[in-house]
Symmetry: C2
């Protein structure tokens, strides 16, 4: 294995260009690298719903930015109309996707800025725009801190399986699960990534693979049915994934297929790590079975993009997430530290730090 050359934070998943929010269009990567411009909360809600932007931390950041965009647009309104506009924006953003709790976190954070002190709408709008910039910067800082904590769990030479994309593209930068990988490599460890393709949206084949190539990190692509076989042959040393929501007892909602990987890792005594910021923890939900699971369009399963390969006349199921029980999680990696064998007590203790 040659010494790795890692380019750090190669992409700006979300960026402000003046008072316009730009996001990489993740539906068309890696064939095309283009930015979509958002000028309102509705633009952002549409982008979240259509998966221009995806990944729990990125969705949280986008929602915060969507609130700021709407505030700037509404800055010349009366205080009452401004408040109504912000209420509508929040509703629109909150209903765009149901599973990632970061979305609610991003909206709530901007509402706190609004309520911090009474001010004219244009003053509040400026404050919200500044806060949205801070949300993006903070997300990268959080991911770097998380990466430093998690990097210690990975060993030199590890072949690390990941599912979906919990990388720089799923956040404002660096990434959660792949942020831990980046940090471990920056610390001198040689790692290889095995990326599950993650049907139906192919976040692994398109986004994780692209991010790893861009960063010069060796990556091997497999289909979602192959990880168990590789584990049985001793070809995977660790699993690391992100999360869309973690319940108070440590149950993890993540991209559909994660649960099967976790069960197989457990069978083969391979550590299964979940990396996410504490903004992904939903301490109000007792357990994973209370997490709403989004069911998406049948057309995602019957083909890909413009191509359809399944016949007419069938039914389709398309749950976008599944629940991995806490008992299968070796450790939860957050910016506040690592929680081994997460459970209710340990997560409560983490949140107090």
């Amino acid at each position: 294995m040659t010494s790795p050359k890692v380019r750090v934070d190669p992409v700006e998943t979300l960026r402000w260009v003046g008072e316009v929010l730009e996001m990489i269009d993740q539906r068309v990567l890696p064939a095309q690298f283009v930015y979509v411009q958002c000028r309102s909360a509705k633009d952002v809600a549409d982008a979240i719903r259509n998966m221009v932007v995806r990944g729990a931390p990125a969705i949280g950041c986008a929602a915060a930015c969507g609130m700021a965009l709407e505030a700037v647009r509404s800055a010349s309104l009366s205080r009452e109309d401004f408040n109504n506009a912000m209420k509508s924006a929040a509703d629109l953003l909150l209903e765009s996707r149901p599973t990632a709790v970061n979305l609610a976190w991003g909206v709530a954070r901007m509402q706190q800025v609004m309520m911090r002190r009474p001010a004219a709408p244009d003053v509040t709008a400026r404050e919200m725009l500044a806060e949205a910039h801070e949300v993006l910067a903070e997300d990268v800082r959080v991911n770097r801190t998380m990466g430093a904590h998690g990097a210690k769990l990975l060993q030199d030479g590890d072949r690390v399986l990941t599912h979906c994309n919990a990388g720089a593209l799923a956040a404002a930068g660096h990434g959660t699960a792949l942020g831990v990988v980046r940090s471990a490599i920056e610390a001198g460890k040689r790692l290889q990534i095995i990326a599950g393709e993650t049907r139906p949206f192919l976040q692994g084949a398109r986004l994780t693979a692209w991010e790893m190539v861009e960063s010069g990190i060796p990556v091997t692509l497999i289909t979602d049915g192959m990880s168990g076989h590789l584990m049985s042959r001793g070809e995977i040393d660790a699993v690391i994934v992100g999360a869309d929501r973690v319940a108070a007892n440590g149950d993890v909602a993540n991209k559909i297929g994660t649960y099967m990987v976790a069960v197989l890792a457990n069978r083969h005594s391979i550590p299964f790590y979940v990396a996410c910021p504490t903004s992904t923890l939903d301490m109000a939900l007792a357990s994973g079975d209370l997490i709403p699971i989004e069911e998406r369009h049948a057309s995602e399963v019957t083909g890909y993009g413009e191509m359809r390969w399944a016949p007419e006349g069938i039914s389709v199921r398309n749950p976008a997430f599944d629940i991995t029980p806490a008992s299968l999680v070796t450790a939860l990696i957050t910016e506040k530290g690592v929680v081994h064998a997460p459970n209710r007590e340990r997560l409560a203790e983490l949140m107090k730090r």
Copy 2:
């Protein structure tokens, strides 16, 4: 649930038209329904390698027919040249794909006809052609007997998960795993099929879904990462799959992804059935880890058909099969009967029947 209307054996996967063997081109189903014509062992070997025809029993039948085609082509040669031609044909067919043992079975069966009695090549060729016809007819009979045995294991109302395609398209007709389903429905049971799409070749999304629609059997398509989630929600009552090779101890080689489904079924106490003719049993192999696993082209994983969605610069793994240990198999269903909790002793006893 409405009363099912099942059309029996809707397709002829392999058929003789005079002295030409025709096979449905399974690479282009369901978008196109076309037959490919084979006139030599090389034509058949190419069709097997390129997956025009796939499925262990169908490959076994095709190999037998390939030997017959070559015999007919070589009928006017000297005995020595005929024997050499048949030796070359056997070698060509045997190396077309490594995992399914039925391929060797089909070739060996035709070699037995050759060695049965000394005769002029044209006489032997006629006998081999007759035997090839019999192999196809026998495969359907075997599947119907297997279906009758296995049908008793499925309950009225069951939601039955299958992986890959072990249907009429994987055999000369009726099918193995889906043959059991067909037989259970013919016996009056109402079943729903849940089909895993089976990346990378999409046998589930294309072939199983198509076969079920053609037969009027309700089918729900999912991606390969979804079955664990459905099991955890109590939405799957039984799993039934085919096999490409079964070792003497009951370990099962089947389409990549089967092992993960078996592990999840075990975790959720859902019966996991394997249906295959005894020609799929390889009593010469002690255990599954001795079964050769074919590694196919990277291009199957980096996209589908003409479409490529993964970036350049990545590595790819593409094992076509995996091994499910016997301990995860609730029962093996064959034409000689059902073996519950298969192991070495029980399989040896089955083969003596």
